[in-house]
């Protein structure tokens, strides 16, 4: 590359720095120094190697650029300005109310695919996109991830490194901005580029180590990684935080704050510029679209049969995959348990084995949904807690993903508490915009699998390990946000509310109580979020007391969902919640349910006590 060209790129890099400084100064907060270290890397990428049509962010062959160091938004937005995508006026709205130019990027911006800002997530999500490009769409776009050096300490980065290396993702490039300084001081490896290189190479990557402020070296590095086709690549660039302004360059204590004297800094950087980059557009291509039959034939189960809802999930998602080509399934090395395996046998090209790496499992799903696919990511409900931060960020990024957690509650039996999903409802309920479904029988599970695929946001399905009776016919409908009243009469003394395993325990309790002449209502609250407040209100008005029963810790689950339905200032019924308040050990499923006080006998005993003590009278709202 010519010296002239290098000089031009240097000017662009300086412009990015100037605009980063100006944006943070206008905002009075933000991360200019973390932006300045990566400006040369960004300038060369933007003007020479990125293929991106800013007018058509949906272009199927656009490269993807993920700012994993999400705090460096001043740089990202300066790049958008240089590309002509935002103007200077908008740039200076940075971090103000209503501006899409938030402190950390979100898909409110059309050129941002996923939310970042929790470090160590960019690469895992990029792996998902690269997998989609290589294995699903079969389009030759490249995924560029710009990462900080601090975040290389996150385990999720190494789950991603392993996954990318194993899948030979030659369409993925990680750019590590090794500016030596984290938030509070030096990183573990300082500017030891080889420390990062050695690690990535051990995971099967091709690495290039360069001075990230040497424009020529940066350019050569991009050329080198573009020539590598068979393995993921990393450019490990030694840089200086705050590069270009002596007052802050390579100094501690300058993280996450505007420059002390922005005007002087801009001057030191050579003043404002108005370079406009004509970003290369990608070629027109037609991505592979896998055709589905268009006709969904869900499995059908006979009433009275005993079927585990995890089996119904596996069969339903397989049928969904047959009908719809964009449905993909991912699993964390427990597909034989979650029954995701059923899908793998029928649609192997759309099945992604993520091994025991739940963060990467969920990140892959997030990356794939950003490319228009409809992922179902599956593991034990208990192990999904591993990916909580990825769910949190997925919600912030308005990602549309389906999550399936099997082996819930004490009902799994002998394996003991480490394998029991006992916090999953709380975790998924607390995510913004989530849907939480807890099917109680196989036909319902199948219908909900089909329904969830078309919802927005994070949709969670909770499935059981053990078999439970089929209580609904295969043609029954189960709207999300609905419920089913399975026992009801004018003399109901109270209402039992269950879902999943506990619905069957509630039905058993109702039978026991009926033998004693005590009529109770039973509600199947399969939709935990949104919850069917209307039916609950009616039951409250008519029976006066609601007992929730859940195979989950007492906090954040079914009981809370029901309570929340009454948090509208209107009269509240008497509420009792039965949940797993003990710490289980090993025991049979029935012993576990009894020990937790959520089996039919325990429920009946509690209800009987309430009725006998005359605490409850039919129809009496407290």
């Amino acid at each position: 590359m010519s010296t002239d060209k290098n000089a031009e790129l240097f000017e662009l890099a300086q412009q990015l720095r100037v605009d980063a400084v100006r944006a943070a100064d206008a905002a009075g907060s933000g991360h200019p120094t973390s932006s300045m270290s990566a400006a040369d890397l960004a300038a060369v990428l933007l003007s020479r190697y990125l293929r991106y049509d800013f007018d058509r962010p949906e272009h199927p062959a656009n490269d993807r650029f993920i700012l994993s160091k999400g705090h460096a938004t001043p740089l990202l937005y300066a790049m958008y300005k240089a590309a002509g995508a935002v103007d200077d006026e908008e740039l200076l709205t940075f971090r103000t109310r209503g501006s899409r130019l938030e402190g950390h990027p979100t898909p409110r911006i059309p050129w941002v695919d996923v939310a970042t800002g929790s470090l160590g997530q960019g690469l895992p999500v990029g792996v998902g996109m690269a997998l989609a490009g290589k294995r699903l769409e079969q389009v030759d776009y490249r995924v560029w991830v710009l990462s900080g050096d601090s975040e290389m300490a996150e385990g999720s980065v190494w789950e991603a490194a392993e996954h990318a290396g194993f899948e030979n993702l030659g369409n993925l490039t990680l750019i590590v901005d090794v500016n030596r300084l984290g938030q509070r001081g030096p990183t573990r490896h300082g500017r030891d580029l080889e420390a990062y290189g050695r690690r990535l190479r051990a995971f099967g990557w091709h690495t290039v180590e360069i001075d990230g402020h040497d424009i020529g070296a940066v350019d050569a590095a991009y050329q080198e990684v573009l020539a590598v086709k068979d393995v993921p690549t990393a450019i490990i660039a030694g840089t200086r935080k705050g590069r270009g302004v002596a007052a802050v360059e390579d100094r501690e204590g300058m993280h996450g704050k505007p420059l002390p004297d922005a005007d002087a800094a801009v001057e030191e950087l050579g003043g404002p510029r108005s370079i406009r980059v004509d970003v290369h557009k990608p070629e027109d291509v037609r991505p592979r679209r896998i055709a589905g039959s268009g006709k969904l034939e869900l499995p059908r189960y006979e009433k009275g049969d005993e079927v585990a809802t995890r089996n119904a999930f596996g069969e339903a998602v397989t049928a969904l995959g047959t009908a719809r080509g964009e449905v993909v399934v991912l699993d964390g090395e427990v597909g034989d348990s979650t029954r995701a395996e059923f899908f793998s046998k029928e649609h192997p090209e759309r099945y992604f084995e993520c091994y025991i790496a739940e963060q990467q499992l969920v990140a892959s799903a997030v990356g794939m949904q950003a490319r228009g696919h409809t992922p179902f990511a599956c593991s034990f409900a208990s192990f999904l807690t591993r990916a909580h931060d990825f769910f949190r960020m997925a919600a912030i990024g308005a990602a549309d993903i389906n999550i399936v957690g099997s082996h819930v509650g004490t009902a799994i039996g002998q394996d003991g508490p480490s394998q029991m999903g006992l916090e999953d409802l709380a975790m998924f309920r607390s995510l913004h915009g989530s849907t939480v479904l807890c099917p109680s029988d196989a036909n319902q599970a199948a219908k909900l699998v089909a329904a969830m695929a078309d919802l927005r946001g994070i949709r969670y399905l909770r499935t059981n390990r053990g078999e439970t009776p089929v209580v609904y016919g295969p043609d029954e409908e189960f709207p999300v946000g609905g419920s089913k009243v399975l026992r009801s009469g004018p003399d109901d003394a109270l209402t039992l509310i269950g879902a999943g395993q506990t619905l069957h325990e509630c039905l058993g309790a109702a039978d026991l109580l009926a033998q004693e002449g005590i009529a109770v209502r039973v509600i199947d609250l399969y939709s935990v979020k949104p919850v069917d407040a209307g039916t609950l209100r009616t039951a409250a008005d008519q029976t006066g007391c609601l007992i929730t029963v859940e195979d989950h810790h007492p906090e954040g689950g079914l009981g809370d969902a029901v309570a929340e339905a009454f948090a509208d200032g209107r009269p509240v019924p008497r509420l009792v919640r039965l949940a797993v308040g003990n710490m289980p050990g090993s025991a049979t499923p029935q012993e576990q349910l009894a020990a937790a006080g959520i089996d039919a006998q325990s429920i009946a005993a509690g209800a009987r006590l309430l009725v006998e003590k005359a605490v409850i009278r039919p129809g009496s709202v407290a």
Copy 2:
């Protein structure tokens, strides 16, 4: 080592296999094949290298043995039997109700320090123990972690590898049982031992790769790692799952189930044996104990001053560290934000920088509490979600840890949602046996820091980024499980309940309403779990309506905690919850609170509406 000795060790390994097969057969479930692959490794370790006094599990110089592949309990319990710690009768209670020999190990067993069973946690926790041995106790015990190969895919393993390498933990040995087969099929690397070795070496480890069924090679590997003093070591052992029984050896589909014909298997393994191992006892040593002053001098703040609760935490935990030598602080590279940094300046030898690796942060705390220390682990509340599975397992293992999450809620302002703790209360409330504290002023925060250190289980403290007024005097007491009534009168029309930032918004709302002649009660619910049901009940009886206000998503937090207090079947007050139902962007703290409808004006508007519409009348229980 002599051939005779090898033959003896082989016999012991066969005994471990036989007992593993018998235990799983008696239970009708369990993981004998995963036990059999590691039997030779375990036999040699137990009889020749482990230093452990089974009669004195609290011995300060005992080695620690962590079964990271926690499903291989048949092997662990067979080892206990060989060591004379459990008898054959108890062995055969495996996985039955009431037996301490659960499906996965927990500290109900005196020789188990931490619960395992969620893969990829043993090494991180072992790093915490090794750090304690090296830097705190300065005792020469060794931490042995027996891991599966599947779990090497977990990012947490690589956070641990990085931490151990950086800290030169020569007292830590990882034994990887590379049996090639995960739950559902082959692992990524099969029996490619070098794949694991290369990765670990890149992280600064010394590795030995061996045939894990060659007793002589196993013995030599232990000798080799014991000779390495300056870096962590790994024995990477190629093995065969189900080793020794042809019907299952190295075969897929044999994971997690008893052997098809246990009697034949036992016979094939040479029948039962009754070898008793005299495990080497450690030398008597006196661990270093860091002396504290014994006198706690908490910081004191003046009423009316503006102080961030995170600052009060930092100052209080520093004072606690001065008073008590066993207090240690860990942080995830945000100590300048969480204010853990204050402690690091005063007590650098007890401060552990964990960099941006929240799983390892929490695992280190778990490991250290197992060694008798009192850890406080700190990060942004939002990023603690990264460690959810470690909290879950810590609760199962009854670990005593203090966790501090800063930068909660929308009140952090411009940084936007990725940095806001909006799910933390839900996550921590749903953990078994947890305590959740949300201090509202600096004096209260300081007192709660002192109180939490002496509780059991997981104690969570939620701190604010921004300054809030000091409303309590420095001598006020704040019992865990209590609350404070800050406004109260006979004519209270309703009750406002807040904690942290929202308490101050509630007080502001009360002032606004008072100007209009509407009296309201205000409760500071600083103890979110356990919750002060008595005070809430009184407020409900006297004012008829409770409005909860929280800077948190609507699910699982303060509103749920209050609702749960009324889930006792007695009459329930009218409940209204104000929480962050929107997805915030960037804005100032006050704009954020207003946008979420949880600032003083919004609270007052809601209360006014309820009163004006005559929905609420003072003293009227619905």
